[in-house]
């Protein structure tokens, strides 16, 4: 590949030889898990259980799609769990107080986006690293959520919500849970944005070489703010679904989600240092974790075993990705 004398004409030589290594290895892991779990539990493959998995992973998946953009741009958003918590608080309390369900969902998405814009502004204008900026908002938003319940709403828990919002979280269309349908639609949207638009292309490009993007006239700050806003919007939508699923909300909703979600995104193959991202990998990452969680419950394993497994899997997956990229000569960083 170096010298180029014997190379074919430009433009024509586009076919890269396909290899089995191009398949995301998580797919094999998921297939392996399915075989093992199907043998270990006769309930695992039942349609109701499979649909249950899709319902369980939907909220995580919607947030993880946004996080894939964030991490691909060499950022990170630790505040997703807290954003989810505050949005859930507002959506649940407003519906409980009689606001139209659809308006409340819109309000949740708008609030999430606004929080994302705030994160983006802190990162770009105050030039604070995303890790610190969103660690700050993680803590602050959780505190704000508690304050919201105690001072503005005067109850610690919201419950018994109208049927529409419960349908959003618990309903079915045929055998398919409504949250899974929404998550699938969001996957299509995220996949389109990521692979087919300037928004997606600039996301990975900024993660790869921000200075070059700025030099080429890309509005880097604006793009980053939009990325965090999209992540926030995902949290707002996920909050509405979660409120429906729980038929209520409490101040601790979403606590610890950030680690679960970042683990899934990285597990899927998105590079933590930006430049390379994969929506398909994120879907597989979320599914892997979801299948492990579901399967461990079904076979009656100790709850904490799943965390050990997921942790080990994360390390193995990242080690594999690093090895593969080094072998392709793509790991060098400038």
């Amino acid at each position: 590949m170096r010298a180029g004398e014997t190379l074919p004409a430009p433009g024509r030589a586009t076919a890269r030889t396909w290899s089995i290594g191009d398949i995301n290895p998580l797919l094999f892991i998921i297939i392996g898990l399915y075989i093992v779990l199907a043998l270990a539990s006769d309930r695992f493959l039942a349609v109701t259980n499979q649909m249950n998995i899709t319902r369980q992973v939907s909220v995580y998946l919607i947030i993880a799609l946004g996080q894939t953009f964030v991490i691909s741009s060499r950022g990170i958003d630790l505040s997703v769990g807290s954003t989810l918590g505050l949005c859930a608080a507002v959506v649940a309390t407003q519906i409980s107080d009689g606001l139209n369900v659809w308006l409340a969902i819109g309000l949740g998405i708008a609030l999430g986006s606004l929080i994302g814009v705030g994160n983006g502004l802190i990162i770009t204008k105050l030039q604070i690293s995303p890790l610190i900026a969103t660690l700050g908002t993680l803590v602050a938003l959780r505190g704000a959520t508690h304050l919201y319940y105690t001072h503005l709403y005067a109850h610690e828990v919201v419950s018994r919500l109208p049927r529409d919002i419960v349908y959003l979280g618990q309903g079915f269309v045929g055998p398919v849970p409504v949250p899974a349908i929404i998550a699938a639609a969001m996957c299509v949207l995220a996949w389109y944005l990521f692979h087919y638009t300037r928004f997606g292309s600039y996301t990975t490009s900024i993660g790869s070489n921000e200075a070059a993007c700025a030099l080429a006239g890309v509005h880097v700050d604006r793009q980053k703010i939009l990325i965090y806003a999209f992540q926030g919007a995902c949290c707002g939508l996920a909050a509405a679904i979660l409120v429906g699923r729980l038929n209520g909300a409490s101040p601790d909703v979403g606590t610890g989600y950030e680690l679960h979600i970042i683990a899934a995104v990285v597990l899927g193959g998105t590079a933590l240092f930006g430049g390379i991202g994969t929506m398909w990998g994120t879907v597989l990452g979320i599914l892997t974790i979801g299948v492990i969680e579901n399967g461990m419950v079904l076979i009656g394993a100790d709850f904490h075993l799943q965390r050990v497994l997921i942790g080990i899997l994360l390390i193995v997956a990242v080690a594999y990705q690093g090895w593969r990229r080094r072998r392709q000569g793509t790991a060098e960083r400038t």
């Binding site: 004409a9 030589a13 638009t197 000569g329």
Partner: protein, 252 residues
């Protein structure tokens, strides 16, 4: 070689000092259309400073810059770009995880409408036009769809050059040490590339430490010493000894 009337770029009495040190102390020269001009000189002779004033990266203390006969004030690299002056940076300013076509079109991606409504990046168009641009400078890349981090140094330079050709505005390309840090074969390719640009009618201003390279591509060689022009040598009269003598000065 270049007459004042036909010069693409002419600078007169350029001066720039940093904290009392005269980095550039009255420099005059000109570049004609399609001419390759090399600037050589010892470290601290003022090469980079002169070039950065033309590229809009530094503002000058004194002197005038004429572009196509008109006085201009490039205050920023963007101003220079608007005039048609492009600078190739040493790190090439490429996005390593993006393919050559993506890099060439970065910030200017064409968009088509799927079913007449949904906007999508027109990757086929990007590849097609990238191939044309690369063809113009006789460069072949193994693929337009691999990340540029997998390309060799010379192939990355070609990608950076093709970026400049895209806008069709580039009339002068400034290259700072384009052959440094490249293998011998790759260096040859970069020199060929400069030759191709010249044939396209694009002027090239190249800074290089490598006199062999300079002698093989430059139409004229401007030797700077202590912030002044020590001599301007046309290719016909250029040989290694003359230039080295001008670089080190008449102390012999």
């Amino acid at each position: 070689m270049s007459d004042d009337a036909t010069a693409l770029l002419r600078v007169e009495g350029l001066r720039k000092s940093f904290g009392g040190v005269h980095a550039v102390d009255g420099v005059d020269f000109s570049i004609a259309r399609g001419e390759v001009v090399a600037v050589v000189g010892d470290n601290g002779a003022g090469k980079s400073t002169v070039v950065k004033m033309i590229a809009g990266a530094y503002t000058r203390d004194e002197g005038r810059i004429f572009w196509e006969g008109r006085p201009v004030e490039p205050q920023s690299p963007e101003d220079a770009k608007d005039l048609g002056i492009e600078t190739m940076y040493q790190d090439l300013a490429l996005v390593p995880d993006l393919d050559p076509a993506g890099n060439i079109f970065l910030g200017k991606e064409p968009v088509r409408r799927l079913f007449g409504v949904v906007p999508v990046l027109d990757r086929a168009e990007m590849r097609r036009r990238s191939a044309e641009l690369l063809e113009r400078v006789r460069i072949r890349l193994p693929s337009l769809q691999v990340p540029v981090r997998q390309l060799s140094g010379g192939q990355r330079q070609a990608t950076a050059i093709a970026r400049f050709l895209l806008s069709d505005r580039a009339k002068l390309i400034i290259m700072d040490e384009p052959t440094a840090a490249l293998g011998v074969q790759e260096q040859r390719k970069v020199l060929d590339l400069i030759e191709q640009l010249k044939q396209q009618g694009i002027s090239v201003l190249v800074i290089s430490h490598n006199l062999e390279h300079v002698l093989s591509v430059a139409d004229r060689i401007i030797v700077l010493r202590g912030g002044r022009v020590a001599g301007v040598v046309p290719r016909a009269a250029a040989d290694r000894q003359t230039i080295v003598a001008l670089i080190v000065g008449g102390t012999a």
